[in-house]
Symmetry: C2
Subunit: 145 residues, 2 copies
């Protein structure tokens, strides 16, 4: 019944838990798995960055993009190791939840799987809020793991 599953990957433990379930679910439903890693463009982070003052702010975009790509690729590798043929990984920039939901609509995704908890206590609120936003904005079913 599910034909195309989208897994947003943010490198958190919650997202990895979601990946493991996505790989299982994909098998049962013989569905296609798409992995999406979203990074925020530097200008979108200026407000929060202003306190951090990175030494090399002009390269922040490259760094974030490269991290997002690394996460997407490592998730894809795991999926391939778990016999998940045809898995594809994507990297996009933008507001996280909005980008996930728009990507899902454009690609006829019929299930989004998200983790409910993030890396550590400090990040739980943020990651949880992305999941909540995806649940609220998505037009397809969302599985919160």
């Amino acid at each position: 019944m599910f034909k195309r599953i989208l897994l947003p990957a943010d490198g958190s433990e919650g997202a990895f838990k979601a990946l493991k379930l996505a790989v299982e679910l994909r098998k049962v439903h013989d569905a296609e798995l798409m992995i999406l890693s979203v990074f925020r463009h530097h200008s979108l982070r200026e407000a929060s960055m202003s306190m951090v003052r990175p030494r090399d702010p002009e390269h922040m975009d490259d760094l974030m993009k490269s991290y997002a790509r690394e996460v997407a690729e490592s998730f894809k590798r795991y999926a391939l190791e778990q016999e998940c043929p045809g898995v594809r990984a994507f990297v996009k920039s933008g507001h996280t939840a909005k980008t996930i939901v728009e990507f899902a609509e454009k690609n006829d995704v019929d299930l989004i799987i998200v983790g409910s908890h993030g890396l550590g206590e400090a990040e739980q609120l943020l990651v949880g809020s992305v999941s909540q936003k995806v649940v609220g904005m998505a037009k397809c079913p969302v599985l919160v793991v």
Copy 2:
């Protein structure tokens, strides 16, 4: 992979949409389906009821219980019509989200399916908030339809 699916039934359009998906998903996973209709005990509603002043307040519990049972039974009938053998319906009183999550834990449920939207615009906020609470409190995956 999912062996026991719980569907909270509140008579809303969102819950019926969730039921339809639950019935399909149950087939694919050869899972057991449990339907749970939760009603709030009169004392729990006193605050909101104080504005309504029902003519026969001592019978409010019976009315709510009877409505909850009717919803659970109609959901069960639909599931049986869709070839969903062994479906069971339950009625419990208590705080909605808490009762759903506790029931899931006690019964080794491995997936809860909830609707994202309720009956009408006026109820969306409330029903949405129950779904959100279930997502936040549940120890098993929650599918928001």
